[in-house]
Amino acid sequence: MTRRRFVTIVACLALCGGLLAWFVVSNPGPQPSLSSNPTTGERPAVSGSPSSTELVEHPARWDGKIIAFVGEAVSCRMVRGSYAWIHLNDDSYAERSVEDGGGLTGYNSGQAVWVPASLTSQIATYGGYRDQGDVVRAVGVFHAACAEHGGDMDIHAGALVIEQPGRAIPHPLQLERLVWLLVLVPVAGLLWWLYDTMSWRQRSR
C-alpha cells in the first residue's frame, strides 16, 4: 500500500460525505417566533403538549411548531454563554424515580431544551441518585433536526415554569445487607488465607 493510495482513500472519505451532503443543502423554512406580535400584542399559539415519545415517533408532525413540554430536569444545566442546555425527562420516573421507590416502567425518555440561561436559575433541584428533580414546563419551538445545533432534536424554549419542586431522596442503610456483608467478609478472608497457605506450601516443596 503506497502512501499516495492511502491518502487518496482518506481524502475520499471526507470528499464523498461532503459532496453528498451538498445535494441536500437547502434553506430551512421560516421558524415561528416566540415573541408577541408587535401589532396585535398576542402571544403565538401553542400547538400542543406532546410527550417525548410522540416527538421522537412523529418528528415531522411537530417540527417547527410551538409546543409545551413538561418534564423533570435531570443531572445539571450546561450554560453556554447567555443560553443553557437542560434536559427534561417526561417518563414515569419524573414523578417518582426508582431510587425513590417508583415502579419499573422502562427507559428514561425526554427532550433537550435550549433556553436563556437566566431562566434556568429558577431550577433548584436536578434529578439524580440523591434527588428528585424539579418538574419544569418549557414552552418553545420544537426542531426535529436543529440547524443551529448540529442536527440535534431539541426545543428552543422562551419560557420556563416550575410545576413541581424537587426533593431529596432518602437512602436508608439496609441492615439485612450489612449483616450479610459481616458474615461474608470472614468467610472470604478465611478462604484467601487457606489458599495463600497452601500455595506457599506447594511452592516451598
Binding site: 451532503a21 433536526a145 456483608l181 484467601w192
Partner: protein, 500 residues
C-alpha cells in the same frame, strides 16, 4: 470415539476459572471506592457483597480443584468461555441489588453487554442511578475491552505455557512482546495511557461545555471508558447526544477509533513505527469500508431530506457510521430516530458497518477489517490468476505488522470465521423476525448485538421477550470470543455427558 474428560481436566479448568473470578472480583474495588467517596452507602454495601461473593467462589474453586497441571489448548478455550458465563452471573449481583432491573436475566444481559463491549442495556431509570453503579457499568466495559483473561494474566498468573493459550482463547492472538504476561501488561499500559489522556481531554471539554467540575471529570472518564473499549455505554440515557457539542464528538471519535485499532498497531506506533498506520491492511480496509458505508448512509439521508445543512449532515452521518463501524455504539440521535428519521437505506448502511466491525486483537467486535482485507486480497489474487498465463505463479502479499505472503491457510481461517459471523447475523435476524419485528430493525439490532456494537433502533427494551434477550446474550458472547472458545466449551460439555 469421544473421550470423557478426566477429573484432572476438570481440576485444571476449575483452578484457572477461579483465578479469573478473583481477578474480576478485585475490580469491584473501583465502584466500591467510588460509592464510598460519594457517600452512597447503600451502593457501597452492594459492591462489598459482590466482591465477597466473587472471592469466595474464586478461592473456593481453587481450593477445591487443586492442580499442578498446565493448561492445554482445549482447557484454555473452555476456561475462557466458561469464565465469561460465571463472571456474567456474579457480575449481575450489584445490578440486581440496585433495584433498577425487572429480572436477573436483564442484569445478566447488561453484564454480558458490558464485558463484550456491546453497549446495549436494559437498566431502567439510568438517569437516577448512583455514581458507584454507573462506575460499575463503565468499568466492566473498560475491563471487558482488554479482556477479562488479560486482567487475570496481568495480576494473578505467571507466564506459564498455558497463559498464552488462555489469552488466545479470549479471541486475541497478537503477542506485542515475546512474553504473554508482558503482552497483557503492555495492553494495560496502552489502555491506561489512553484512559488518562481521554479523561483529561473530554473532562476539560465537558467543563468548558458547562458541566460542574466533579461531573465533568466523571463524564470525561466514563465516556473515555465507553469509547476506548468500543463499548458505547454512556452515563446518561441521552448517550453522547447529552453534550450537544462538535468538539466533544470529535474527541470521542478519536478515542473510539483508537480503541478499535489492533493493539499490535498501537504497540508498533508506540515503539516508533508510525508508517504502520498507513501500511497496515486493517487500517486500509477500515478506511475503505467506512467510506463505502458512509456514501450509502448519505444517500439514504439525502433521500430522507433530514439535515438541510451540509455540516450537520456530515456530522450526524459520520458519527453514527464511525460509531457503528468501530462497534462502539455511541449515538448522537435518539435510538428510534433511526427508524422514524433516518429510514431503511441509512439503517442498512449502519448495519453493514456494524457487521464488518473494526480491527482484530482490539477492543472491537464484528467480522474485523483484517479478515475483510484478506478475503478481498484473495479474490484479487484469484482474478489475477484467471487473466495470467497458466504457467504464471501469482502471489499476493499483505502488510500486517510485517510483510507476509497470502497463504491458503490464512484465507481459509479468515473465511471460516467470516462465514460463522454471517450465519450468526442471519440467525439472530430471523429470531427477531419470528418475534414479530420488521426485517430492517431486526437485522439492525441483531447485528448490533452479535457484532458487539450496541447501537439500537429501539428493539432492545426491558419489555423485549425473554427469548430474544437470551438470544442476544448468546450472540454477544459468541461474537466477542469469536466462536472457537464457545464451541470448545460446548464440545467439552458434550464429551463430559456422552464421552467414554
Amino acid at each position: 470415539m469421544i473421550l470423557r474428560p478426566r477429573v484432572g481436566d476438570h481440576k485444571v479448568i476449575g483452578k484457572y476459572t477461579g483465578k479469573i473470578l478473583v481477578g474480576v472480583g478485585l475490580v469491584t474495588t473501583i465502584p466500591l471506592v467510588t460509592a464510598l467517596i460519594y457517600g452512597e452507602w447503600e451502593t457501597a454495601l452492594d459492591f462489598g457483597l459482590t466482591m465477597m461473593i466473587f472471592l469466595i467462589v474464586g478461592f473456593g474453586l481453587q481450593l477445591l480443584l487443586r492442580s499442578d497441571e498446565d493448561l492445554d489448548w482445549s482447557h484454555a478455550l473452555v476456561v475462557a468461555a466458561g469464565s465469561w458465563i460465571l463472571v456474567t452471573i456474579l457480575g449481575a449481583i450489584p445490578y440486581w441489588l440496585s433495584g433498577h432491573y425487572s429480572s436477573y436475566l436483564d442484569c445478566m444481559f447488561d453484564v454480558m453487554s458490558g464485558y463484550t463491549t456491546t453497549g446495549l442495556y436494559l437498566l431502567q431509570d439510568l438517569d437516577h442511578v448512583s455514581y458507584g453503579l454507573n462506575m460499575w457499568r463503565h468499568i466492566i466495559t473498560f475491563a471487558g475491552g482488554q479482556g477479562i483473561v488479560v486482567i487475570a494474566l496481568t495480576f494473578l498468573l505467571r507466564g506459564t505455557g498455558g497463559a498464552f493459550k488462555l489469552y488466545a482463547g479470549e479471541g486475541k492472538d497478537e503477542r506485542l512482546v515475546p512474553n504473554v504476561v508482558h503482552t497483557a501488561r503492555a495492553i494495560w499500559i496502552v489502555s491506561l495511557i489512553w484512559l488518562a489522556g481521554g479523561t483529561a481531554a473530554l473532562g476539560a471539554t465537558a467543563l468548558w461545555l458547562g458541566e460542574p467540575p466533579n461531573l465533568a471529570f466523571l463524564d470525561g472518564m466514563w465516556v473515555t471508558m465507553g469509547g476506548w473499549s468500543t463499548g458505547g455505554f454512556a452515563p446518561m440515557s441521552y448517550n453522547t447526544f447529552w453534550f450537544h457539542s462538535l468538539a466533544f464528538e470529535l474527541i470521542s471519535i478519536i478515542i473510539f477509533i483508537a480503541g478499535s485499532l489492533n493493539f499490535a498497531l498501537h504497540w508498533a506506533v508506540w515503539t516508533g513505527d508510525r508508517r504502520e498506520i498507513r501500511r497496515n491492511i486493517e487500517t486500509v480496509s477500515f478506511a475503505t469500508t467506512v467510506t463505502l458505508t458512509l456514501i450509502l448512509a448519505s444517500y439514504g439521508l439525502a433521500k430522507a431530506g433530514l439535515y438541510p445543512d451540509a455540516l450537520n449532515f456530515f456530522r450526524k452521518a459520520f458519527y453514527q457510521i464511525a460509531s457503528g463501524h468501530t462497534t462502539t455504539g455511541f449515538g448522537t440521535i435518539y435510538s428510534r430516530a433511526f427508524v422514524t428519521q433516518w429510514g431503511p437505506i441509512a439503517m442498512v448502511a449502519v448495519t453493514l458497518a456494524m457487521a464488518i466491525g473494526a480491527s482484530a486483537c482490539s477492543t472491537a467486535g464484528g467480522i474485523k477489517g483484517l479478515r475483510v482485507g484478506l478475503i478481498f486480497k484473495a479474490v484479487t489474487q484469484d482474478l489475477r490468476r484467471l487473466i495470467s498465463p497458466e504457467s504464471a505463479v501469482v502471489t499476493q502479499r499483505y502488510h500486517h505488522i510485517r510483510e507476509s505472503v497470502l497463504e491458503n491457510t490464512v484465507v481459509r481461517s479468515a473465511l471460516t470465521i467470516t462465514v460463522l459471523y454471517v450465519i450468526m447475523y442471519g440467525v439472530i435476524t430471523v429470531i427477531g423476525l419470528l418475534y414479530g419485528y420488521d426485517l430492517v430493525p431486526a437485522a439492525f439490532e441483531g447485528v448490533s448485538a452479535a457484532s458487539n456494537t450496541g447501537l439500537s433502533c429501539g428493539v432492545t427494551a426491558p419489555s423485549m421477550p425473554d427469548g430474544m434477550k437470551a438470544a442476544y446474550i448468546i450472540s454477544m458472547w459468541f461474537g466477542r470470543l469469536e466462536f472457537m472458545s464457545v464451541l470448545a466449551l460446548g464440545a467439552y460439555a458434550y464429551a463430559a455427558v456422552r464421552g467414554r
